[in-house]
Amino acid sequence: MTSAGFWPPSALEVVFLLLGLVAVGSALMVVTTRQLVHAALWLVVCFGALAGCYLVLTAEFVAWVQVLIYVGAVVVLLLFGIMLTRAPIGRSDDLDSGNRVVAGVVAVATAGVLVGVVVGGFQHAYAELQPGAGSAETLGASIFRNWVLPFEALSVLLLAALIGAIVLSRTDIKGRG
């Protein structure tokens, strides 16, 4: 599995690194921007770039699911949350709490440890990309042959979560007695 040095990077790797750069940069904007709505919009950019990363890694079905669910549903839900909590539109300077510095230190330490371990551990790992490894056909066969039970359990979990969300957010449902 060890082939191809780090230099020069292949075209695929260049594309992946550019997409990764976009993802990391927009993620930084999400956690540092001073406008709530902009944070949600930067999240769209981040998830889109990640979907591109999945495409480069040949996981095409997961990429489209990412676009559909994350960009299409989760971000819209978050935007609804922002609107319903009457968040100020425009700049607000109190989005960060007092422990920003501590948070920065912890995050930099986490990044240092993780990147160090990952680079040390997988320096020579090389994944040969073959198209079709993540197509809908392959994944569908895998889910409905080998992963049926977790899949069904997850459907029940999702149903329970949605019913729970409805019960929590409606005011006219009272407890018994």
Binding site: M1, A4, E13, F16, L17, G20, V24, A27, V30, V31, L36, A40, L43, L50, C53, Y54, L57, A59, V62, V65, I69, Y70, V74, L77, L78, I82, L84, T85, D94, L95, D96, N99, A103, G104, V106, A107, T110, A111, L114, V118, F122, A125, Y126, A127, A133, G134, L139, S142, N146, F151, L154, L157, A161, L162, G164, A165, I166, L168, S169, T171
Partner: protein, 102 residues
């Protein structure tokens, strides 16, 4: 594709998510940061699935499962945030101190 590249991108995304969870005051921004961390995990799962060529495709299937769980989590989380906002008129985390030590 060197496995290091996706792994490093995922590690950076995860750390950014950690920073967001710790540094933000607004509950919805904290939820967004949690989503960032989940996405970092997803990227790792995909990369290692592609590298190890698992016959069951566990990495990609688990990514789909994580996406479903994230959707459920955001739904419940926002419902809780809205319930808190209805009763307290505030969703800033450091103003919700009823359960904390005085």
């Amino acid at each position: 594709m060197h496995v290091v590249y996706p792994a490093v991108v995922a590690a950076l995304l995860f750390s950014i998510g950690v920073y967001g969870v710790l540094a933000r005051r607004n509950t919805i921004l904290v939820l967004m940061s949690v989503e960032l961390m989940l996405n970092a995990v997803n990227l790792n799962l995909i990369a290692f699935d592609v590298w190890l060529r698992d016959a069951l495709h566990s990495g990609q299937v688990l990514t789909l499962f994580v996406i479903v769980i994230a959707a459920a989590e955001v739904g419940i989380g926002l419902a809780i945030v809205l319930a808190v906002f209805r009763t307290r008129r505030a969703i800033e985390l450091d103003r919700l101190r009823d359960l904390g030590e005085p």
